[in-house]
């Protein structure tokens, strides 16, 4: 069945088509979410949010891009929204701690690092890397995650981010440079 027919069935509210779509994309959505939010619990929540959004917005989908591109775009947006919400929560707790409404601000983390795809021997290293990725500007972070973690080509990322190929190349270059700088500082401070 071609994509146009799948989209048509989804727009008609066909439950089987919806299940097939979830089966096809759930693994991609989960792993992309884990790339942005390295916590299984949070990533699973995002996966559900993504498919709920697909269900709500399928009638607005004009078919200008591929269905996968559209789903990746929703995933990226949901992940960034989730990260922003967590950061807001952290800031709020920080201010509450200043006026004595919150006991211990150190306990508040944006994420509990829990990426099930990371090997045990690489856990500390990956944790350091994800902390460095978290410091990247949003666009660099999206391009880097989609390319390095999800393994998408620059061309696909161009469609998802709705930008030019040269912009993606530039974002990737700057992301790598920034990561090297952050990691360099980290290892330098930790007397490597």
């Amino acid at each position: 069945m071609d994509e146009t027919q799948i989209i048509k069935q989804l727009k008609e509210g066909n439950e089987v088509a919806f299940k097939n779509m979830v089966d096809t994309f759930q693994e991609k959505v989960l792993n992309t979410s884990l790339g942005f939010v390295p916590s299984l619990h949070d990533a699973e929540d995002i996966v559900q949010e993504v498919f709920l959004e697909v269900f709500r917005s399928i009638n607005k989908f004009r078919g200008d891009s591929k269905l996968s591109t559209w789903i990746y775009r929703i995933t990226t947006t949901k992940c960034l929204e989730h990260i922003r919400a967590k950061k807001r929560e952290k800031r709020k707790s920080f201010f509450q701690s200043l006026i004595g409404m919150h006991e211990n601000v150190d306990r508040i983390k944006v994420f509990d690092y829990n990426h099930p795809g990371v090997l045990l021997e690489n856990k500390e290293r990956s944790k350091t890397l994800f902390a460095a990725i978290e410091k990247l500007p949003e666009k660099q972070r999206v391009a880097f995650t989609l390319h390095k973690i999800e393994g998408l080509s620059y061309q696909e990322i161009t469609s998802i981010m709705e930008t030019s190929l040269s912009s993606i190349e530039s974002l990737m270059f700057r992301a790598k440079k920034n990561l090297q700088k952050t990691l360099g500082n980290f290892y330098n401070n930790n007397n490597c």
Partner: protein, 112 residues
């Protein structure tokens, strides 16, 4: 100092490469069931919301329409006409004009 720099560069390189060793994660087999549950909840909430919101809107619309109608009638002088009619009736009664009219009608019917 030089050794330290080499060490840091090596650490950075190894850390950057660790991203390639991340394994793909399998999806929880109950994900679709959970998703169905959430969809069900959402659809239910949607109905409840509609149930609550719609009468409120209806009530607001009725109030607004009544107000607009009242205002329009007032502007058209509808209430003034009633007063005028009342005063004409009073005038007719006062000068017994209504009775004469009835008599005229009786007269016409007798002639036919």
């Amino acid at each position: 100092m030089k050794n330290k720099k080499i060490n840091i560069d090596q650490e950075v390189k190894t850390t950057m490469e660790s991203i390639d060793q991340i394994k793909r994660v399998e999806v929880n087999p109950f994900l679709f069931t959970r998703l169905q549950e959430k969809l069900g909840q959402e659809l239910e909430v949607g109905t409840v919301k509609t149930g609550i919101r719609f009468p409120v809107w209806q009530f607001a619309m009725v109030v607004a329409l009544l107000f607009i109608n009242g205002f329009a009638l007032k502007e058209l002088g509808f209430f003034n006409k009633i007063t005028e009619t009342a005063s004409i009736d009073e005038f007719a009664n006062e000068y017994a004009l209504a009775e004469n009219e009835e008599e005229d009608l009786d007269y016409l019917s007798l002639n036919d």
